[in-house]
Homo-oligomer: 306 residues x 2
């Protein structure tokens, strides 16, 4: 196609996509059915993972739960069955260990079948100033929050590619879009998760595998215990999120094939501004919004909760 | 401070910073002197690393070169001396190996002294579709392009903090801001480098260490061999960059304490648009700009060049 025609086509389609987006501000998008899909959720023994399991259960899916916490996972399985899951399988799996991820993936494929909705949700946080963070925790943060995504893709993406059908859900964070004081290793791992999911998503599109969707979730702090103690300065603009609300939004994003889900909505604005404003103004606004002191009162999940 | 006063202050400063930014579109920023600073450049045996070494040499710095390529590093040392470096030290160091990074860092501190300008430049690229990329190369990409930044910060940041003086330069990539088909592991590692450098930069500001500056460099493809074979579709908008040009721009960014340096300038626009446009339009524009086929003709650095 020549330059003129290609440019004209891009312009017309651009207008059309903007009209479509505008209309969908008022008209909800059509939801796909996921009944019968095999949904794997890592880190589903507590928090958002458990709540997503309950939501997916209510939609008639087969659930595969992974966690390092056996008791938490059993409780999730019980709740998922109550919510209507046809089958629930659970596996102890430490996502920081590549070999274990591969071993348990093989077991899932043998015992349950191919996973068609992969939710990379397991995540950990060090919660220390970078110089105070032990190397072992920094490495583990990268292994769980980033590298486990690589290995689960390696394990479950081939079947999705063969069927040109599936959904890859990456639970990242607003700290995967904007750097945060006191979360350097966490930010590195969550930025990486975003870049990885985005790139593979484009690779699938480019290779014609448009039946495999990607959803990248970037929520602000959620009230699940993981970030216990953290305080938000302007709760109207940047509220600490309710876990049930986040789980419902994630499921809705999956059902409507939404690629990026940022929560709360103000994160869209803040992310956009970050790339446009002068650096000094960005830092000023960060201070104003309390982004510099978010982690000052961090306590995190108590041992008992884990 | 109360809400009203704080908001007013933010508004007034915001206006001032925008005026300042506008003025600096026409009036160059003041450059700092870095004569006598100890500059460590990882991966300085070739490419941009070598060119930066020559530029830093001409500014009267003490140079510390790291690379896995002894011959390349010696050639860089020779060129740096020609360019006027007072002292040039070079060390074999494999940045994929944490223990080696720590060992060589200790050696540098003993033999040369504290590093005050740390340039994390070493980088590798797999250049394969994600499912075709061997795990070992994916892991190595994360180790060199991301984790080595952690360990060099651990090694050299304490002295900078003690003196409240230093500069952290992270050579990331435009692929650290925008996902690219065919570069999933590279994007993960480069996104992580951006998030990490940004977070530690904010941490230093928040803890009052404002004498330590951060510069994050995100260039499009550079004609150094690393991305040999790659073709750009619209060379006017997204030219394959000239390495000498990039090196000069990086040094200029360091001398003017510029936080983000995106090259070419169109990357600023593309990054900003990515967060604003409807997803479908973003993908459409990506295809239009050739972002889907960038890696189709990738050959990379030949063994001989390495």
């Amino acid at each position: 196609m020549n330059f003129f025609l290609e440019t004209l086509q891009v312009l017309l389609l651009s207008i059309w996509y903007n009209v479509e987006s505008f209309v969908h501000l008022f008209v909800p998008r059509r939801k796909k059915s996921i009944a019968g899909e095999v949904v794997l959720i890592t880190g589903s023994g507590s928090g958002i993972g458990r709540l997503m399991a309950q939501e997916f259960a209510a939609l008639g899916t087969v659930l595969v739960l992974w966690d390092i916490n056996q008791d938490g996972m059993k409780e999730t399985a019980r709740l998922a069955k109550l919510s209507g899951a046809s089958r629930v399988h659970h596996y102890l799996c430490d996502c920081s260990d590549k070999n274990e991820v591969y071993r348990v993936s093989d077991q899932v494929k043998r015992e349950v079948g191919d996973v068609s909705i992969l939710v990379n949700n397991a995540g950990i946080v060090t919660g220390k100033k970078f110089m105070d963070a032990p190397d072992s925790l920094i490495e583990k943060t990268m292994e769980v929050n980033t590298m486990a995504h690589f290995w689960t893709y390696k394990a479950f993406l081939p079947a999705m590619i063969a069927n040109n059908h599936g959904h890859l859900v990456s639970i990242s964070s607003s700290a995967g879009l904007i750097g945060v004081n006191g979360l350097a290793d966490y930010c590195a791992s969550k930025f990486a998760a975003v870049g990885f999911a985005e790139s593979v998503g484009l690779e699938l599109l480019a290779t014609g595998k448009d039946g495999i969707k990607t959803t990248i979730v970037c929520p602000y702090f959620i009230n699940t215990g993981m970030f216990d103690g953290c305080q938000t300065k302007w709760p109207t603009l940047l509220p600490i999120l309710n876990p049930e609300y986040v789980a419902k939004k994630i499921i809705n994003a999956v059902l409507t094939d939404q690629v990026f889900l940022l929560l709360p909505k103000s994160i869209y604005l803040i992310t956009a501004l970050k790339n446009i404003l002068p650096m000094k103004q960005g830092i000023l606004l960060g201070q104003y919004l309390g982004a510099f002191s978010l982690m000052d009162t961090f306590k995190g999940r108590s041992k008992k909760q884990e």
